[in-house]
């Protein structure tokens, strides 16, 4: 089979799920005739018609609220945010209405909110965000953030079949850069399980999304130049978090670097570090350290963006510090 990009994997997942279940439908801005800003829904209107591929007004709160209502009635809406940065416009609906629906009213809300996220693309402050941590703090939402085409397809299919609301982040830097031959057939990946992206024995990097690839690059360099064997754990799902996989890698290597692209303060790295502290403190030979973005809005100029965001060289330096500790 031919290799596909992460973007094509997303499109395949959408089409296959719409084909499989007539209750699945898509809503979002410019997703119909135009096929979406990144063409993730390209061809779906022609294939499934305008009742199942709905162009919405510029109303993130409006269509995410509407998705919740439709989901209560047994439909399975998939909302596209043109850029995930605009999820903040629907923060109220997602956190107060959607996330609480099952708990307070026994109302299922099987819906997916997906969209392109992340930086390294010169998108500036409003087309580069990684807002996952804001939602990690809201019980009732699930958060998925894949780094490979295969995981993107398999996890998106699982998200659409999940009986709760799943926020699905698609890193736009990876959209067309990463290619992979997908498993044949009805390929799903379970939500809530991490993946060992690279086996190692000296030190672990726990990460997700685009920084999985930077961590892999760093691991190769460290093996080549330092003879270090670095394990890379790709979390894939951030909520629920795979504690067992985190503890397993800590016990294996006893040294942990947490890497993510989001800002360091209040980022998910803090939560991962706290879990390691509570679940596996006595297995550590060094403090858990973080490599993440500096605490500023993401700037536009390449010189600025590259300085603010974590780079492969940062990961290499941090791993060397940890290995020497």
């Amino acid at each position: 089979m031919a290799e596909v990009t992460l973007l094509e994997a997303v499109r395949e997942a959408l089409a296959e799920e719409m084909e499989r279940d007539e209750n699945v439908f898509c809503m979002g801005e410019d997703i119909g005739a135009y096929g979406g800003a990144f063409k993730a829904t390209d061809g779906l209107l022609q294939r499934f018609g305008e009742r199942r591929v709905i162009d919405t007004p510029i109303s993130e709160a409006g269509f995410i609220g509407a998705a919740a209502g439709a989901a209560h009635m047994g439909l399975r809406p998939v909302c596209e945010l043109q850029f995930i940065d605009f999820i903040s416009c629907a923060y109220d609906l997602l956190t107060n209405y959607v996330a609480t629906a099952r708990y307070r009213a026994f109302l299922p809300c099987p819906m997916v909110v997906r969209g392109p996220s992340g930086g390294y693309v010169r998108g500036g402050p409003f087309h580069s965000q990684n807002p996952e941590a804001a939602f990690l703090h809201t019980p009732g939402l699930k958060i998925v953030y894949p780094s490979t085409p295969s995981d993107a397809k398999g996890l998106l299919k699982s998200a659409i079949r999940d009986d709760d609301c799943v926020l699905f982040f698609e890193h736009k830097y990876l959209y067309r850069r990463i290619k992979e031959t997908l498993p044949a057939g009805d390929h799903t990946v379970p939500i809530g399980r991490a993946r060992v992206a690279r086996e190692g024995k000296d030190l672990s990097i726990i990460t997700y999304a685009a920084t999985v690839w930077k961590s892999l690059e760093a691991a190769e360099q460290l093996e080549r130049e330092d003879g270090l064997s670095v394990e890379v754990l790709d979390l894939r799902t951030l909520q629920p978090m795979d504690d067992a996989a985190i503890v397993a890698t800590v016990k294996k290597t006893n040294r942990v670097l947490v890497v993510h692209e989001d800002t360091v303060t209040g980022g998910i790295g803090g939560e991962i570090t706290a879990r390691i502290n509570e679940l596996a403190f006595e297995w550590l030979d060094a403090p858990v350290r973080r490599v993440a973005a500096h605490d500023v809005p993401l700037p536009y100029a390449p010189a600025l963006e590259d300085f603010v965001l974590p780079q492969t060289s940062d990961i290499v330096r941090a791993v060397r510090w940890l290995a020497a500790y």
Binding site: A61, G62, A68
Partner: protein
């Protein structure tokens, strides 16, 4: 109040209603008021453990509009819509258990007051406190009707205050564009907490907002239960025919504070008393029933007695209901996993404290 003997109706009954239905409307309004009066007693006895919200003076608005729906239609109530929920099948027992935080309340003690729903059978949605949010949600519920070709209608209430929110705008605009079978009722009761409508919106008539969305808009006397029914029925029928969204502004007046603790110091002197004396929806309806429609006062008194007996029985039963099991508070956030884990410091304990204290209030001004 005209207390005439039973005579033949002197006026045709409006809006296609039967005589029995006229009495039913009276029953729902009386049940709303009596149930709320009982809740006030229970609140003073500290058996209602949270805030108490009244709809005194707005019973016609709530009951008349909800009466225009069929059982399969979906209603989305707001905090002054106890009457609408009763019409849609909510029971006094559910409401009492809910206010008293009982374990067998519709939300098993998780939510307050009339924040509960039933989308399986009676078809009303549990509201949340964030005003306006149910407008987009109801846009989606009614979108599902249109997508599936079901002849069902949705009705969502907002107050004058919620018309200022972004969610109201986004929801109603979405529903209008998508031709959803939705009726949006603005209950204009003069105040959002302490803020008068004139400080909420510069438009003279909230119904005029309809023009901006390209939908029908109508304003009516919300303290006339038959008028509230009639205009809502027209809007519901339009929605069912595929005619899209209607914005209905029902004019009414909130005679109690935002919640029971609110002393209404911001209300001009005499205003509440004037509405109570001249424009009480139940008094007005009794006058119409016993006058124009020839209903005997004794028939209404019999309904009053029935309501009292029902509320008494429901109160007794609600008092006997147990409080929730503390650990139930961790369940049901997700379908999977079914429960949040008990944190390490609480493991092996069935409850957190020996005695659950009742708060004196929420810290809101109680003068």
């Amino acid at each position: 109040m005209a207390a005439t003997a039973a005579v033949a109706p002197t006026t045709d009954i409006p809006a296609g209603l039967t005589r029995d239905q006229l009495l039913e409307l009276y029953y729902w309004m009386r049940l709303t008021r009596t149930l709320e009066e009982r809740l006030v007693n229970l609140y003073r006895q500290t058996k209602v453990v949270g805030g108490l919200f009244r709809s005194l003076g707005q019973e016609a608005c709530a009951v008349g509009s909800a009466y225009a729906l069929r059982r399969e239609d979906v209603l989305s109530p707001l905090i002054r819509n106890l009457g609408s929920m009763l019409v849609k099948g909510a029971t006094p027992l559910e409401v009492l258990r809910q206010y008293m935080a009982k374990g067998d309340s519709p939300t098993r003690g998780r939510e307050l007051n009339i924040h509960f729903g039933d989308l399986e059978d009676r078809n009303f949605v549990g509201q949340i406190s964030h005003l306006g949010d149910l407008v987009p949600v109801m846009a989606g519920i009614t979108l599902s009707f249109r997508l599936r070709g079901e002849e069902r209608v949705g009705l969502v209430y907002v107050g004058d205050g919620a018309t200022s929110t972004g969610a109201f705008h986004e929801g109603i605009n979405f529903a209008a564009v998508q031709h959803c079978p939705l009726v949006v009722i603005v209950e204009n009761n003069g105040y959002a907490y302490s803020t008068p409508t004139a400080r909420q919106c510069a438009a003279e008539r909230l119904a005029d907002k309809a023009a901006g969305y390209g939908i029908a808009g109508v304003r009516a006397d919300g303290n006339d239960v038959l008028e509230a029914y009639r205009v809502t029925k027209e809007a519901v029928d339009r929605a069912r025919r595929g005619g899209g969204v209607t914005l209905v502004e029902l004019m009414t007046y909130r005679r109690k504070g935002h919640a029971e603790h609110d002393n209404q110091s911001y209300v001009p002197a005499g205003e509440i008393e004037r509405w109570a004396a001249e424009n009480d929806p139940i008094d007005r309806y009794i006058a119409a029933l016993t006058g124009r429609y020839g209903v005997a006062a004794s028939e209404l008194e019999a309904l009053d007695a029935r309501v009292r007996a029902e509320v008494d029985a429901a109160t007794d039963e609600a008092e006997r209901s147990p409080f929730p099991e503390p650990t139930d508070g961790l369940g049901g956030v997700y379908a999977d996993p079914p429960s949040a884990p008990v944190l390490w410091y609480r493991q092996g304990f069935a409850r957190a404290v020996d005695r659950n204290e009742r708060a004196q209030g929420w810290g809101t001004f109680n003068g």
